[in-house]
Symmetry: C2
Subunit: 421 residues, 2 copies
């Protein structure tokens, strides 16, 4: 048992407390209470953030306009002006996704939270879900599906490959899932999945199509409505050059039919579309408090979507395709081998290089970080140790950055050969 | 079926695309695809954020240092410097919570997400949880408990009241829960719960104690270790004057024993402490990618915790207590009645006023917003229509702000009487 004691580690300019306040405080605390943890020394230093060029698979650097928007003073999350900003974000996501879906909003979390929101709202325990698995994102989706009690069926391909309509149809016939999950931009392998025809295929098998576009949105052609994607989500920290913390998501009418006619409540209240649809003005009923949204992140997301709308999706897609090809040529000129052989399957935003023989991938990424303050990364999930990954996304997607990272890699290849260690 | 057509809504400075790129893009898209949604007009206007003094129950205004930190350029979420910042945040939360718990971190979401993280990680399907319910937060906790299949037992009090040790012991004996949830600062009713003795009581009944301190942290005395609280969480957007989007949480060894020896996986992967503990350096194993953390929100949280450490918890508690009493006196001098009768049960951060007879609460809050650009709010959940709520938190906790809101209320009382309509 400790005595309640007031320690003063630091003199402040505050007026000395009155005896009255001591009494008040003492009344509300028992004799067992007392300070045990002093203010940490590590917080006495000012925040230090090094300057980095982020050419990994994400996050990418944030643009100055987005930075300014995210650094603003806040208003209340339930103020009419905030709802107006949320309406503008909704319109921006509708443009980025090429959809007119009314249930379009930003999740208060990372792209991972949006993946969970999609699965948790659509699936009920015991329902079958088919997961296209050719990298880390399929693994994650399967894990979430299992946690919420769905019957998870896996359609597996070697990392670096993608799925054909025949692959998918066969699995749909076999497993009769209510939901099919597939990744558009597989950032762990550098593969872009051709989505054409999958939507109508799923529809004909009475199955909803859920697409992950975290690493592809804004960097590779994607048409939610015309490609008949039922549920689509993305992240903010890739092509949008926005801080992580919000994640665009959209559900079409078929998906709404499913999620608003569930027999059981979703396992998450935080991600429950029943609540979130109201908060984002899905219907005419007054918006009700659900959680405190990440206000500054929403300011930043609005600005990022405004920039995308100004630039134009079609221009952005071309820019990413053009600079990716420019990068690929430069890498091949260095003697490096791209991990994805088929050119049409290469994701324009994230390029994967087979780790060259005679090198440790970590030596290369460390060398480039140390000498150039540039981030490129190794693999993720099934591609760990197999690939190096370079991202050219949004404002970072320039020929100058491609040249810079090629130069850095050339330098690394000269300095990091194992025999030199 | 639509033709693939390139629309140009806006001329940009980008170089005209080459035929090669067109071909490349066309190959990757079928003829069904095409633009259907133009860039939204609402995003052509610059972001507009009005200036507001936020004296509701939260969020509060953010301090200029926190604003500056949150508006910085980012680094990667897996860079060593980011892990160092996370370590500093952990130390700051340990100080704010007065705990030495190793499993101390910030959830990538709002306070609500932290509530869900606590319940989802501790509870397994079929286990009994006892929820102290005297306002909206108990209702939320019960809802989450039911969603994850726990046996939810409720200990109910009228909003505005708090719980005695006798109340709690009786319910623990009756329901034999594995977890007891209680709210320290009930911001929907303005009640502060005396926590002394509850921890040891729970321990003696082999039950974990989970406390919500979203609205009280930094504003009312709280000692996680000495008060034997097993799991504690809070939010960033109240006394800490930090943007919403991260939520401090801590688990002691007893709680870790429970969560790391589960038979089933938690229903959420996003909030799974198995992953998050690793990401926040709980053990010596290398940190693995789990999700992209909200980097700028973490910068802001670090700064907010540094300010709290500089000010000193004991000074902050006194400041909030002193200014709350000053506000209470001013309100009573106006003829208003405080909702919480017992002075020792009044939450220092959020004050509740009984809606005065002859007034609509919404007329009063609207009047003050319109004429003073100050937010005060009505009730929440069970107190809707019953109370007005005023928050004086962190940098907003000044006598000048108390004077201002009292003047605004006086003005509102003169102008909003129903008979005048």
């Amino acid at each position: 048992m400790r005595q309640w004691t007031l320690f003063f580690w630091k003199t402040t300019s505050a007026a000395p407390p009155t005896q009255h306040i001591y009494n008040q405080l003492s009344r509300s605390m028992s004799v067992q209470t007392g300070f045990t943890v002093p203010p940490p020394k590590s917080l006495q230093q000012p925040l230090s953030v090094p300057k980095r060029l982020l050419l990994g698979p994400g996050p990418s650097n944030i643009s100055s306009r987005v930075q300014e928007a995210g650094g603003r003073q806040i208003i209340g999350h339930m103020h009419p002006e905030m709802f107006q900003i949320m309406d503008q974000i909704k319109a921006g996501i509708q443009y980025a996704f090429q959809t007119t879906n009314n249930l379009t909003l930003a999740i208060s979390g990372s792209g991972h939270a949006a993946m969970e929101a999609a699965l948790v709202n659509v699936l009920e325990p015991g329902e079958a879900v088919l997961i296209a698995m050719n990298g880390v994102w399929g693994e994650r989706a399967a894990d979430i599906g299992e946690r919420i009690g769905a019957k998870v069926q896996k359609l597996v391909k070697t990392p670096g490959e993608s799925f054909s309509l025949q692959d998918i149809e066969k699995a749909l016939v076999q497993h009769k899932p209510v939901l099919f999950f597939i990744t558009h931009g597989e950032s762990s392998t550098g593969v872009v999945q051709n989505l054409d025809g999958i939507g109508s295929l799923c529809k004909s098998h009475n199955c909803l199509l859920l697409v992950d576009s975290v690493a592809s949105l804004g960097g590779a052609p994607l048409f939610m409505d015309n490609q008949e994607i039922d549920i689509l989500y993305s992240g903010s920290q890739k092509v949008l050059n926005c801080p992580p913390g919000t994640a665009p998501i959209s559900f079409n009418e078929r998906a709404c039919q499913k999620i608003f006619n569930r027999k059981t409540k979703p396992t998450s209240l935080y991600l429950d579309m029943g609540w979130l649809s109201n908060l984002w003005g899905y219907d005419e009923s007054p918006r009700k408090y659900h959680h405190t949204s990440p206000i500054t992140c929403l300011f930043a997301l609005r600005e990022a979507l405004a920039i995308l709308a100004e630039q134009g999706l079609e221009n952005y897609w071309k820019l990413h395709q053009e600079n990716a090809e420019y990068l690929h040529k430069g890498l091949e000129d260095l003697g490096l081998k791209l991990f994805v052989k088929d050119k049409s399957m290469r994701l324009p935003t994230v390029t994967t290089i087979a780790v060259p023989e005679g090198y440790e991938w970590k030596d290369i990424t460390n060398f480039i970080m140390k000498n150039y303050q540039i981030e490129i990364t190794g693999g993720l999930g099934p591609t760990i140790g197999m690939v190096l990954r370079i991202g050219l996304m949004g404002i970072n997607c320039t020929k100058a950055n491609a040249d810079l990272v090629i130069r850095a890699l050339k330098d690394a290849l000269e300095h990091c050969k194992k025999s030199k260690h």
